[in-house]
Symmetry: D2
Subunit: 352 residues, 4 copies
Amino acid sequence: MRQPCAVLGATGMVGQRFVERLAGHPMFSLHAVTGSERSQGKRYAEVDWVLDTPRSRKSDELLIADVASVLADDEVRVVFSALPGGLAGPVERQLAAAGKRVFTNARDLRMQPDVPLLIPEVNPDHLELAWGQDPSGGFVVANGNCAAIVATLALAPVARAYGIERVEMTTLQSLSGAGHPGVSGLDAVGNVIPYIAGEEDKLQSEPQKTLGQLVTSPDGARITPADFRIRATATRVPVREGHMAILHVHLRHGADSEGVTDALSGFVGPPELRGLPGAPKRPLHVMTDERRPQPLHDVGREEGMAVSVGRIQVDGGGKELRMVALGANTVRGAAGQSLLNAAYAEKLRASS
Amino acid sequence: MRQPCAVLGATGMVGQRFVERLAGHPMFSLHAVTGSERSQGKRYAEVDWVLDTPRSRKSDELLIADVASVLADDEVRVVFSALPGGLAGPVERQLAAAGKRVFTNARDLRMQPDVPLLIPEVNPDHLELAWGQDPSGGFVVANGNCAAIVATLALAPVARAYGIERVEMTTLQSLSGAGHPGVSGLDAVGNVIPYIAGEEDKLQSEPQKTLGQLVTSPDGARITPADFRIRATATRVPVREGHMAILHVHLRHGADSEGVTDALSGFVGPPELRGLPGAPKRPLHVMTDERRPQPLHDVGREEGMAVSVGRIQVDGGGKELRMVALGANTVRGAAGQSLLNAAYAEKLRASS
Amino acid sequence: MRQPCAVLGATGMVGQRFVERLAGHPMFSLHAVTGSERSQGKRYAEVDWVLDTPRSRKSDELLIADVASVLADDEVRVVFSALPGGLAGPVERQLAAAGKRVFTNARDLRMQPDVPLLIPEVNPDHLELAWGQDPSGGFVVANGNCAAIVATLALAPVARAYGIERVEMTTLQSLSGAGHPGVSGLDAVGNVIPYIAGEEDKLQSEPQKTLGQLVTSPDGARITPADFRIRATATRVPVREGHMAILHVHLRHGADSEGVTDALSGFVGPPELRGLPGAPKRPLHVMTDERRPQPLHDVGREEGMAVSVGRIQVDGGGKELRMVALGANTVRGAAGQSLLNAAYAEKLRASS
Amino acid sequence: MRQPCAVLGATGMVGQRFVERLAGHPMFSLHAVTGSERSQGKRYAEVDWVLDTPRSRKSDELLIADVASVLADDEVRVVFSALPGGLAGPVERQLAAAGKRVFTNARDLRMQPDVPLLIPEVNPDHLELAWGQDPSGGFVVANGNCAAIVATLALAPVARAYGIERVEMTTLQSLSGAGHPGVSGLDAVGNVIPYIAGEEDKLQSEPQKTLGQLVTSPDGARITPADFRIRATATRVPVREGHMAILHVHLRHGADSEGVTDALSGFVGPPELRGLPGAPKRPLHVMTDERRPQPLHDVGREEGMAVSVGRIQVDGGGKELRMVALGANTVRGAAGQSLLNAAYAEKLRASS
């Protein structure tokens, strides 16, 4: 029995990725899609498909609806949100209040104290926040910024094993991160833009929440963010898919490159993740070829759900780690992450 | 004494090219620029500069005006139009009726019987149409579609020397031809789009007008278009500047490649062009290296005003010619062509 | 029972494509790979993998051998050749004389009168040439040039239905067609090169052989090439995979675009092909969206074995057809074609 | 009177840049070019020109010679070296011993204690090392790695004004930095390679030498390198020209962004540089538009001799500076720097 679900903002790039990966999903079946007023009432088949992969025909007949109809649809209990930032927050809260379980890629509620910023391999216990979020049983679970997720996954085992004091990060982010049409071809071909609006703030604050500690008290649960500083510079490069993060990490405890490699390679999530749709066998793939990871070759590992890490080097008496992480920004960095969050949360609910 | 002039639609890509090339122009001085309502009232310095070349500071202080103010400005007699197609025609007619001499890059009036589609090296006599266009002395002179100009220049000496029966043309057109933002980076990088809206019709009809014959009668002058067929397919490639036309030409009279090379290399315009600003020493540069012309290397020849021609091959008993032409689409294919048209027309007026 | 096979020239781009697609192939199992002297003796795992897809691990343990050892290996009866042109011919003849059935992507023997230039959907009967090629039972079957295959597939149903008088073709070919490293990044990014060494001759002669007629006589079988002229210009564009052919076709009999669309969409090969590994359900996918086919979106159709055709337009009183064909050059245009040829030939042998 | 000079390794990318910029140089005239054995004896016109700019015709008639003939040519006293690393060192020492004044772009002698690693705007006094290098009066002056020069110029005024404690640097380097053919188009288009062989070591050590202090004693002069640590990660991006350095700098003394901007904007070299050929009016151009600098738009500032700096941000209580520097790697980062070094050194010699 698959859960009926809806995708909000289904016509954009991330929305399309949701629809693509829901085709044939063993846990969820797509009942409704929403879009802007301009597209409402059209069949989903009429949407201009912007992904490289062929369009799934399963969703062709769906009519593009508005959010109100999803809100009113009692059958749909699980909602995926690819709504634009600014618009998303109030809508998602309203849906949660109506008992829907919302898994959102939007930025609006990420840093709200009662919303988990979830990567099940990293902070599965933060889901605790969701259970108590609304008396209706509805809730909002967020995933982070696309590049922040990639970096956080690579940092998680390092934080556990050695402690992190500070991180200097530079990202080389792909065009799909800006959606379609996004960056003009004239600005993209043969060029680099050393700025992405709003990006650096997220890169400097979201990983600490995901890597933070759940503290429960009689007043309820909350997250104490991890206590380290990140300085980030985000650039746009002419790559189609794949955000690369160059990570210069200052460690609390001495490490060596073998130890870091082992910590990354051996990193796994909680046992409940095993076998879940969208859960990679190994969330982190360590590469020893110094020319890797590369977007062209590595972005598709484990269907876009694994982050590749290379160029591991420890220096400065064991306290300075350099590594390069790469992940599929519209998959692990967006729709794929939301879907994994939902699969995990639904499994926990079912088993509790 | 430089003629005061205005640029209509000065904020777009072609408009910026006009402004760039008017800086320091010996015949024209830029007095006014216009833009859409959204930009009117701003200083030109506030416009987002999209050309690769640095912005000329000379125009920074100009305020972006509306067309009405240009119409009312008696000082401005020469107007360059980079208005969008659809909008341009009526405005340009109105300016001409007010005595302005309008040199337009817009498509609207190109095929009107009383408007010359001018390339001074090719059909200088067509200017005759302009002189009689409006009792006020104002007129509209058009230049062709960006890729059509490149092809027409390469075809002109061939038509003269051998006669043309038909042309099969495929164009590989650059991103700047679509303006900014134009083509999405996601559609551009590593891709080809085998279609450009509205382009093929222009490629199939404009060259015949420019290569046509001026016929004068008591009723006035008109153009008999050249009597050959063009079939064209237009594609978009991830190149910044430079439209390439692959030309398969069926000739009326037998040729050999030396003859064609000589005809192209020796091609010059009327003597009045010599030394005019923007007039290349040789409008056509023949290349013998079979790997050329290439956009990266050849688009800037004679400051973008020369068309490069390579891969000349004659076959089929002398009746089949293949050549590859390349030109700077925003320069020779647009603003540069308009400016050369104006320089030529103004010189003729001055000397008559 | 899978046939043991060998891949000659297994370290290059096409060789790697052979190895990739032989992993898990239901009819063939890879027993041997050969490479240049420099690589002989190494494990295949040590070869620098240049395809975007992950390396198949199945072949990692194979030792790179020389051709002599393949010649001497009686177990290996089927050989795939990705040898470089110039080197390939004598080696392939020698292997055939030793009873091997050789399926080659090399250019050397393509135009030899006793070697079929095979596309099973188009000229399955040409295999007749192979059966009688060598008393040992060995033979060489060739596939055409990568872009020629794409064009031939699109032209085949047109030739059948309307007859072809002549073709004017321009190709926009991808970087992978030049192998790795092939074209320098400095020549590729943001550029077009209007020349590919040796390519145009192949494009102008190979399709006529594949589309030719098998004539049998007491002296044996031979091919009468199709009686039409092709003029081709080949260009290199910054695309990774996918050759596009712009085809301007002069027909013998009047057509309309619906008829052409039906002829292409309905095109299928002989019944024996059905269900064979590598045989696409429909060899030709007709696209009505005028912006398609595009390399990024369409090169992977039917795992690279379908050719996409768009921009179908009939003009000139029904005698002038324009269409744009796109195919995966290292798959349908090379290794995939060879493998399909082999699957088809082996099936026929088995059933005869 | 122009000094006769030679360019060693004149056929490569940097060698061509030397030849290009020597055409019409007011201080030097090109008398000899050398190349590998394969090219010796050919006319320079036969060399495949790989720069985007048109080939200068002035050097066409030069015959490509060997180093021995330069060594023997008493007329040539100034030598520019674009020899490959590994080969360059001994040759350059030999030329210096013969009284030649060698300005080298090669890596071999950069870190030798008696060789200045010169950027005249930054460490003009280091030339002192050269004067005493060889009794013959000959010497070797080196310039740094292409990306190191860009970073060093941006860091120099910061080091002077605030002191530097450490630097975390990520570079996004262009294809021309790898020469021609260099990076394969298949690895370049739509991709990032997070590694450049040998680059990071240079980035981590050369700036400290250039920013170091000249200490003179009775035993001679030597350089005390600047006392700060650099950690660098070098990546290759699909850009033609322009290395970008993302600089995260820890300062010794508190700064604010206005102060940093002033220090960079006001940075000038010694008065002797003013008006020298190749000396930019301002070595550092500060950009306030956060989307800049971009390779496409800014690499050509002051004919490639200015470094553009943007994204200036001070944080962490004034002790953490972030900035993004961009420079033309084959100009300011290579041939242009050598030529400026030579112009400066020759002027000092002439005036002493």
